[in-house]
């Protein structure tokens, strides 16, 4: 057991820190740190700066831009990126469709899609959820029927995050409605958003933003070479994608940065006896969150060392569950610190963004597998409690 970084890892950490803080423009990082609705150009700019340095998709195969890093190094990379408020490479590209294409796509698909995916020349969005499915993802009803060299897609997806900026969508579609189980008969299809018959409608969230969308497919004709892997095996690829990694599933670096900001904010709010940072109850809450976030980060580091890459991993559920809780707790703390100033919305000050940001991140325990689903994965997958 050893808690200090090896000299190599310490050097790696230093290199990452220098890169993120010197090569990604300060104004871009400041905008990202402030929160609110993200600027797609900032996301593109950041990812291209990273990609130019070979840092956009380090967990991909080396031949497509990956780096052969240890789990610890991947954690350090993410931690430093988040600490520097660098927008992370778009998750739909870097963590979702990219790894699926790299693992299951044809050589042609890899060569066609992976380079622009790494460089965010293609902006991907995810077409998994459907209006009547909720946590029961596999009950999806969007269909794709083969017609010659094409698939004809009909149906509707929802909760498509940042879909309004997307060039392409990767979608789960039902290609065999007669399959004996709902998880069978599903395929993984790549669809260009500009294809005739694709329509998108933004959904307004309670913070006023529009980060999710409904996507409608009306007789959308998709070339057959845009189906990834085997027909009717799409559920396997989706599971691969969803349980893909332990590192990064809990946004520890972002949570730590937000908590550090919370301390700074608390120190800036005057009270009758000093600042809010001197308030014993508030300070104890901050200290508690620091301890709990430390426990989460250490758990990320500990379980990452035992990762079973490529298999759905119930340990990820632990990190997703706890990560979303702590993220929500820290954002709620900031609403408390903002206090009466946070009752006014509508400007980009930290007080004005506190409540909408808190409300926005209530999604963290719903999207990407609700916390109830994560607990179910833990109880059945780790504890062997089969209901």
């Amino acid at each position: 057991m050893q808690h200090r970084l090896s000299p190599d890892d310490a050097a790696f950490q230093q290199k990452m820190r220098e890169f993120f803080t010197s090569k990604v423009p300060q104004d871009l990082r400041d905008r990202w740190a402030a929160g609110g609705e993200p600027d797609p150009d900032d996301i593109r700019t950041a990812q291209r700066i990273l990609n130019a340095e070979g840092l956009a998709v380090p967990h991909w195969p080396v031949e497509y831009g990956g780096s052969d890093w240890s789990m610890l190094q991947r954690h350090i990379y993410l931690q430093e990126m988040q600490a520097a408020s660098v927008p992370p490479p778009l998750a739909f590209n870097a963590n979702m469709v990219g790894p699926v294409i790299a693992a299951f796509g044809s050589t042609e698909q890899k060569d066609r899609f992976l380079p622009p995916t790494a460089n965010l020349d293609i902006w991907w969005c995810q077409g998994f959820s459907e209006p009547d499915a909720g946590s029961d993802l596999a009950s999806l009803r969007t269909t794709a029927v083969r017609d010659g060299d094409e698939w004809v897609v009909n149906g509707q997806k929802t909760w498509t995050t940042l879909g309004q900026h997307a060039d392409w969508i990767f979608a789960l579609v039902r290609t065999d409605p007669d399959a004996p189980k709902k998880q069978m008969g599903i395929s993984f299809l790549l669809i260009e958003m500009s294809t005739p018959g694709v329509d998108i409608r933004p959904i307004q969230l309670i913070d006023g933003g529009h980060e999710v969308n409904e996507v409608f497919f009306d007789n959308v004709r998709v070339p057959a070479d845009q189906l990834v892997g085997e027909v009717n095996k799409g559920w396997d690829y989706a599971k691969f994608l969803l349980g893909n990694e332990r590192v990064g599933v809990a946004p520890v670096g972002s949570i730590k940065r937000k908590l550090a900001e919370a301390k700074e904010h608390a120190g800036s709010v005057q009270t009758d006896t000093g600042t809010l940072l001197d308030d014993p109850l508030l300070a104890a809450r901050i200290a508690e969150l620091e301890a709990q976030v430390m426990a989460l980060e250490l758990t990320v580091l500990r379980v990452a060392a035992n990762s079973r890459e490529g298999k759905p991993d119930p340990a990820s559920s632990t990190l997703k569950l706890r990560g979303s809780q702590l993220q929500q707790d820290v954002l709620e703390l900031i609403v408390d610190i903002a206090g009466p100033a946070g009752l006014a919305w509508g400007d980009d000050s930290w007080t004005g963004l506190a409540a909408p940001t808190y409300l926005n991140f209530r999604k963290a325990s719903i999207y990407g597998g609700s916390n109830e689903v994560q607990r179910q994965v833990i109880s059945s997958g780790i504890l062997g409690l089969k209901g």
Binding site: S129, D132, A133, G134, S135, D136, S139, T158, W159, I203, Q204, L205, I206, D207, G208, V212, S268, V269, Q270, T271, D272, L276, D279, L281, L282, R285, V335, D336, A338, G339, P340, A341, G342, L343, A344, W345, G346, D347, A355, P356, Y358, L359, R362, K363, S365, I366, Y367, S370, N371, E372, R375
Partner: protein
């Protein structure tokens, strides 16, 4: 000890329920307003018409001679319908006007003047004990220096009630036709009228804010009730994995906990309204109500979204708006932590909390 309402109170409640249903925000496809709502003159006039704005003030001061109990009934209905107004703020201001026997109270009551308190200060946490705005002058001639804000409903306010530090303590002032920049009122030797002098300022302000606490707790009660009911209904009707959500025990057990939180908040809010009606200065009861309602509101607001899942996050569905409002109310007139700290400093005043006095 009697929690039942009489026929007059029931008539008031029904009238406001009908009013609130008409003024309730419409959700549905497409963008809707989110977050704090601007002042709506039509709703305000309607409230004035049913007499809601004068309820807790004595008839000889231009009020209706009812009490905080009636205020609570009104605010609960507004909260249940999701109608945001300056009701609590106007009552805080009105309470100070009443204490000062100000003629302006009648204009507040009939809705022609919108008087709100300017309590928050830029860069400072919530405090009723002090003010960084300073008052100087005497008699009919006072000026204020300093800043207050964000001021609720700043865009529409015709007058402000401003606590300011004067010789001898906190005094309360009236400022007419205030001007704002980004919701902040800055006083630069601005003229003001003294409403309550430093001898009674802190006491009058505390009583006024206690009334405001009753109003926002009641509004929260209505919002919690609506959000809980929507959630229970959703669990009954929404299917997942081929069965209604209420088939999932983890959800129904949590629904039961929501119900318990709601009932605790209901009992406490009603009691606090009665207690403040009886003794407007009973800040301990107001603080306890704020704590219980704050915790219940947080619990119910968060669970209402979580049990709904994605739909609960959307602006086209009402439940998230209730959570938004509950989030704001918990930080209005002091948050849970601040009321706990206040209660913590007076633990030695009593052996037990006695509700049967």
């Amino acid at each position: 000890m009697d929690f039942s309402i009489d026929s007059e109170q029931k008539a008031l409640r029904d009238a406001v329920r009908e009013l609130a249903a008409r003024r309730a925000p419409q959700h549905g496809e497409g963008d809707v307003p989110v977050g704090p709502a601007p002042h709506d003159p039509d709703t305000w006039s309607a409230l004035a018409e049913v007499g809601a704005l004068g309820l807790p003030f004595a008839e000889d001061a231009g009020g209706l001679g009812a009490s905080a109990v009636e205020v609570s009934l009104v605010a609960t209905e507004l909260g249940h319908a999701g109608v945001q107004t300056a009701y609590a703020d106007a009552l805080v201001a009105g309470s100070v006007l009443a204490a000062a026997s100000s003629d302006l109270l009648s204009s507040l009551v009939d809705g022609s003047a919108l008087v709100v308190p300017a309590l928050a200060e830029p860069g400072r946490g919530w405090s009723l004990a002090s003010s960084s705005v300073h008052a100087s002058g005497s008699g009919d001639s006072w000026t204020l220096t300093g800043s207050k804000g964000p001021v609720p409903y700043a865009d529409a306010a015709t007058h402000l009630v401003v606590p300011a530090a004067a010789d001898g303590g906190l005094a309360l002032f009236l400022v007419e036709a205030p001007s704002f920049a980004d919701g902040i009122a800055t006083f630069d030797g601005s003229a003001a009228t003294q409403l309550v002098g430093p001898a009674d300022g802190a006491t009058a302000l505390a009583a006024a804010v206690n009334l405001g606490i009753i109003a926002v707790c009641s509004e929260a009660l209505g919002a919690m009730d609506a959000a809980s009911t929507m959630t229970f209904d959703y669990l009954k009707t929404r299917k997942q994995f081929g069965v209604p959500l209420m088939t999932f025990q983890t959800l129904t057990q949590r629904a039961a906990d929501m119900y318990v939180s709601l009932e605790l908040a209901r009992s406490t809010t009603l009691f606090a309204a009665m207690a403040i009606a009886d003794d407007p200065g009973d800040s301990a009861t107001a603080s306890r109500a704020k704590v219980v309602v704050g915790q219940s509101g947080r619990h119910i607001g968060q669970e209402a979204i979580q049990l709904h899942g994605g739909i609960g996050m959307t602006a086209e569905y009402a439940v998230g708006h209730f959570t938004t409002r509950l989030t704001a109310i918990e930080r209005t007139y002091g948050d849970t932590r601040q009321h706990l700290a206040s209660l913590a400093s007076s633990l030695s005043d009593h052996d037990q909390v006695d509700v049967l006095a």
